[in-house]
């Protein structure tokens, strides 16, 4: 299954729609951010991520 990223929340998934926001996905993305503790992470704060998971840095 091809890995894709959500155009809205940048979640990386293999599902046909984004499991978090149900938005459209794109297979043209780059970078990877794995957030394990969204509340305690400064990286998550800057990226405006509130849930743990795998995220793309740039989605086209």
């Amino acid at each position: 299954m091809k890995v894709k990223a959500c155009r809205e929340c940048r979640t990386i998934t293999t599902k046909p729609v984004c499991p978090k926001c149900k938005a459209a996905l794109s297979d043209d993305f780059s970078g990877l951010a794995i957030v394990m503790d969204a509340e305690g992470s400064e990286i998550a704060k800057v990226m405006k991520i509130t849930e743990k998971g795998r995220y793309a840095l740039r989605v086209r």
């Binding site: 780059s30 970078g31 990877l32 951010a33 394990m36 400064e42 998550a44 800057v46 840095l57």
Partner: protein, 166 residues
């Protein structure tokens, strides 16, 4: 009165084999989860080859996590400042960096490898209109900003010191 509390975590750089950054990030996250290590986040920017960033409370947690992981070379001594990593997290659209008259190289599509000059940029569409330098006649082409790479920035203004050449 309301002062911002300094972050309790720091960012550490880990050197990896080039091209294995995403795999290393995944392995670090998996090990941290399995061993319940306090790793907050792992970052693998595509533009930075051979490095991943790990956010943790201390360097010993990072050392413990990366020990023995395949494709990990070493931890870079010291802390990486947040401002240095921030530029990889908040990606500025490439189109904003282009100006009219910049010389660019087309990196994808049928005109791949050709050099061109930007004649117009459409920020809303994320497209640039180019004029190929190698073409014998003026051929305007519209390309997405991601498919061009800047070669030479346009000079901001001409300074006419002394004689003006014709």
């Amino acid at each position: 009165m309301s002062e911002q509390t300094p972050p309790t975590t720091s960012i550490f750089a880990v050197r990896t084999t080039a091209g294995q950054e995403k795999n290393v990030a995944t392995l670090i996250a998996a090990r941290a989860e399995r061993n319940r290590l306090p790793i907050k986040a792992v970052l693998a920017p595509e533009v930075l080859k051979g490095y991943v960033f790990v956010e943790a409370e201390g360097p010993h947690f990072v050392e413990e996590t990366i020990a023995g992981i395949r494709h990990v070379r070493s931890r870079v001594p010291g802390i990486v400042s947040f401002s240095e990593v921030e530029r990889y997290m908040v990606v500025k659209p490439l189109i904003e960096e282009f100006d009219v008259d910049d010389v660019v190289e087309v990196i994808s599509g049928p005109f791949k490898g050709m050099r061109a000059k930007i004649t117009r940029s459409d920020i809303t569409k994320g497209e640039v209109v180019l004029e190929l330098l190698e073409a014998t006649f003026t051929l305007p082409i519209t390309v997405h900003a991601d498919y061009v790479r800047i070669v030479q920035k346009a000079k901001k203004e001409k300074r006419n010191f002394g004689k003006e050449s014709d």
